[in-house]
C-alpha cells in the first residue's frame, strides 16, 4: 500500500529566507504527487502537482517541487517566504482514485 511521510511537523523560518518542506512516498510503478495548502480556518487548496513530464513543477505563488524517483521524494521549496505563506502544507500521492495523505507540515514565518 502507498504511504506518504512528511518528515517535519513544523518548520519555522524567517521572512524572506528560503524553505524546504520534505515529503517522501513509498515506491510504486506509477506515481502522481500533489501538494496542497491549508490557510488558517480554511479548506485545502491545490498548490501544485506532478503527473508526468518535467520533474520540476511550479505554482503561481513561487513554490516549486521536484519529483525524484530514485529518492522517492517530492520536496516543496520556495526561495523567499512571505508572512502570507503561513499555512499547513500537505503532500499526497494518488492511488486508485484516492489520495494518500501525509500528516502535514506547518510553516511558521518569523518576522
Amino acid at each position: 500500500a502507498q504511504s506518504v511521510t512528511q518528515l517535519d511537523s513544523q518548520v519555522p523560518v524567517f521572512e524572506e529566507a528560503p524553505v524546504e518542506l520534505r515529503c517522501n512516498y513509498s515506491s510504486s510503478v506509477s506515481v502522481y504527487l500533489f501538494w496542497y495548502v491549508q490557510y488558517p480556518n480554511q479548506g485545502l487548496q491545490l498548490l501544485l502537482k506532478y503527473l508526468s513530464g518535467s520533474t520540476l513543477v511550479e505554482s503561481i505563488n513561487g513554490f516549486e517541487a521536484e519529483f525524484n524517483k530514485s529518492q522517492t521524494s517530492f520536496h516543496l521549496r520556495k526561495p523567499s517566504v512571505h508572512i502570507s505563506d503561513t499555512a499547513e502544507y500537505f503532500c499526497a500521492v494518488s492511488s486508485n482514485y484516492q489520495l494518500i495523505w501525509g500528516a502535514g507540515t506547518k510553516l511558521i514565518i518569523k518576522p
Partner: protein, 113 residues
Amino acid sequence: DAGITQSPRHKVTETGTPVTLRCHQTENHRYMYWYRQDPGHGLRLIHYSYGVKDTDKGEVSDGYSVSRSKTEDFLLTLESATSSQTSVYFCAISSGQGPDTQYFGPGTRLTVL
C-alpha cells in the same frame, strides 16, 4: 473555485445523538469524499462515492454511514455521535478522470459533548 458547499459549518451536539452533514457540489463530478482532520493525523478518509448509490469505506469508517441519492449531494451520518468524533470534516470532489485533483469544501467543525 470549485462549487462545493458544506452544511452546517459548525455544530455542537451531545453524545448519543445522530448527526448528518451535507456536501453539495455544482460541478457534476463523479467522485465525492468525506474526510476528517485531526491534529497530528492529517486527513483520513471516512467514505467515498464513485457514483449515485455507489459508495465504499475508507480507513476510518466505523461509526459513520453515507448516502448519495443524487450526483450533487453526499451525506455523512454519525449514527450515534461520540466524543471521539469531534473533528473537522471536509468534503472533496474529483472528476474521476485519471490521477485527478481533488477539490475541497470549506469544512464543518463538529463538537460532540
